[in-house]
């Protein structure tokens, strides 16, 4: 059981480092068992060093950097034990456009492994989508679903069509 955990931990670790570098275009990252003597119970530390920057506490990372680091770790876990589906609700809220593009590129890489349901306001994230649903409230307080085409969506997710579902 300790063996299983350590093996999985190592797989996640290698994936995390690779995904972090992909999402940041460089830099370094690691996950570390706090107590090598107590592998089955100890906590897990995360280190992350964006490219060109020195290593410092992850709490000092910016909002966008924290999102990218968290995405690298989450997807590293998918690679180790693929979740058959994954629901992401506005995960890209803190990202600038350059980072949204890198996040969307990683999403596309995982499409064969995991099915995604992605809620977003960002058009660049929608480039990864096979299907786009719009949710609107034509009747006050009542949600309705509508099919939407990529061309009908604005830069920040506004829907520019009044077609019925």
């Amino acid at each position: 059981s300790e063996r299983i955990f350590l093996d999985t931990f190592e797989v996640i670790r290698v994936n995390f480092i690779e995904l972090f570098r992909k999402l940041f275009g460089g830099g370094d990252a690691d996950i570390i068992l706090e107590d090598a003597e107590d592998v089955l119970d100890c906590g897990i530390d995360i280190v992350a060093r964006p490219p060109g920057k020195e290593l410092r506490s992850i709490s000092l990372l910016s909002g966008g950097e924290k999102t990218m680091t968290a995405v690298a770790l989450l997807f590293a876990m998918f690679k180790s034990k693929p979740s058959p589906y994954c629901v992401l609700d506005e995960v890209d809220a803190a990202l600038d456009d350059a980072n949204v593009d890198r996040y969307a590129a990683v999403l596309k890489e995982f499409v064969n492994m995991t099915q995604f349901v992605v809620i977003t306001h960002r058009k660049r994230t929608m480039t990864a989508a096979n299907v786009l649903y719009g949710v609107t409230m034509e009747q006050a307080g009542v949600s309705k679903r509508m099919s939407v085409r990529f061309e009908e969506v604005g830069e920040n997710g506004e829907i520019h069509t009044t077609r019925a579902a």
Partner: protein, 164 residues
Amino acid sequence: MLKSLEVFGFKSFADRTRFEFDSGVTCVVGPNGSGKSNVVDAIKWILGDQSAKSLRGKDMLDVIFNGSAGRKPSGFAEATLTFDNSTGLFPSESTEVQIGRRLYRSGDSEYLLNQAVVRLKDVKDLFMGTGAGTAAYSIIEQGRVDQILQANPTTRRVVFEEAA
């Protein structure tokens, strides 16, 4: 894996509404307050979430459509998730597995498996070993993406163990 979601009387979905999920990426877009995160809540709810707080409510009855200008409240909330079972992942004969949940204003609630009433335990058993019944890392709620970084190292461990 996920084929479709149907909601009826669930939060802002007063009318029966269906989402068909693509095998790749399905994006859901729309204005603030339109109901996108309510779709996420519906998925969590069907998979057995027992916490009103986790569904952003104060009370479990908060998931029942409670009216709007020109619409009376619903008598119950219902949501159904259809899974593909062509690979035989689930311990079931059919090529599709349908899990439904209903909550009435009285507080009575039901779980449905392929439209037969079952207990929550039966739903949980169905998912056991399939890796499909919500891992801590397969539903990332709005505003929560950084949570794994903020969590203390021990809480984080729990998520790792799910992936192990």
